[in-house]
């Protein structure tokens, strides 16, 4: 029993009852919000996991090719080949609203019209492994951007779910029971006062009758 520090009056009782109704409605709404967020989150996080697995494997493959070309070519040669990339990527962020959580949506733009324009070097002085590596990197790029988007979304949703869950729990396990207990306490206090009043009146009636008629 956790009774709040209030005066047991009828006015307090009315106020508390109103608050309890609000708290219950808030609790229901927040619970619905949490459930829906959770559903979306689980969907996304599954996708996130798949994407991550895919990207990690692809990056590993690309890195293998890269390591091979590093060993095949001189350090300077590699630096020169990759020094001036012919492609430039930029990204546009659109805000998406999932249950009032603002999450980013990425839209990739390329500087040159041809997305395939990725080889920034002549093929004469570089090894074939470098071509493979560059091709690998170009292939995984869309997945990497999607991974970034899903992972960020998941992080933001997770933070929001955590917050909502705390609120739901606070309402469910602290606020609402407190209100209920206090309402019960005030009701009992008022009833008690009522009873003692009735008894007193009966008693006084008895005394008055005795005085008047000598019973």
């Amino acid at each position: 029993m956790a009774v709040m520090n209030v005066n047991p009056t009828r006015m307090e009782l009315t106020n508390l009852k109103k608050k309890l109704v609000t708290a219950r409605r808030g609790h229901k709404l927040l619970k619905d919000k949490r459930d829906e967020l959770m559903r979306r989150f689980l969907e996304l996080v599954r996708e996130n996991k798949e994407l991550r697995k895919k990207v990690e494997e692809a990056v590993k493959r690309a890195n293998t090719h890269m390591a091979l070309s590093c060993s095949n070519m001189s350090d300077e040669g590699l630096s020169v080949a990759l020094m001036m990339p012919s492609q430039k990527m930029s990204i546009e962020i659109k805000d998406k609203n999932i249950m009032s959580v603002i999450v980013p949506e990425y839209d990739v733009k390329f500087k040159t019209a041809d997305e395939g324009d990725i080889y920034s070097y002549g093929f004469a002085f570089t090894s074939g492994d470098l071509d493979d590596a560059v091709k690998d990197f170009a292939d995984i790029m869309p997945d990497m951007i999607r991974l970034a988007q899903t992972e960020k979304t998941c992080q933001l949703l997770a933070a929001e779910i955590e917050k909502t869950r705390r609120r739901v729990n606070a309402l469910e396990h602290v606020m609402i029971p407190d209100y209920e207990d206090t309402i019960k306490y005030i009701t009992m206090k008022l009833e008690e006062a009522d009873r003692s009043n009735t008894t007193r009146l009966l008693k006084i009636k008895d005394m008055l009758l005795k005085d008047a008629h000598g019973y």
Partner: protein, 103 residues
């Protein structure tokens, strides 16, 4: 218009320059921390970071998980996959569910 950055040791990030991402090779932990901080403050939408460097800069990365931008995403470097990227996914599940799920 936002940009994409790749940060980590030289061998791991070099390849990404060819597809038009901006690469920032770093050689020491301190340099990595400084670079990551300054990049996060600029208009980068996504920052890819190698797992090896991410391990040493976890505190900075954690600061940006609640921000909309930038998204700091872990990728494996040439030294191999440490599984840290996957564990960051599991961490966000843990935050949402409230307890660790066995996966």
């Amino acid at each position: 218009m936002y940009k994409i950055a790749v940060i980590g040791d030289r061998e791991s990030v070099y390849g990404f320059s060819s597809i038009g991402m901006e690469i920032y090779p770093v050689y020491s932990e301190d340099e990595g921390r400084e670079k990551l901080k300054s990049l996060a403050g600029q208009d980068y939408a996504v920052i890819f970071i190698t797992e090896a460097l991410a391990e040493k800069t976890q505190d900075i990365i954690d600061k940006y998980t609640k921000e909309t931008a930038p998204a700091i995403i872990l990728i494996p470097g040439v030294t191999g996959n440490t599984g840290q990227g996957m564990s960051s996914v599991l961490k966000s599940i843990e935050r949402a569910v409230g307890s660790a799920l066995l996966d």
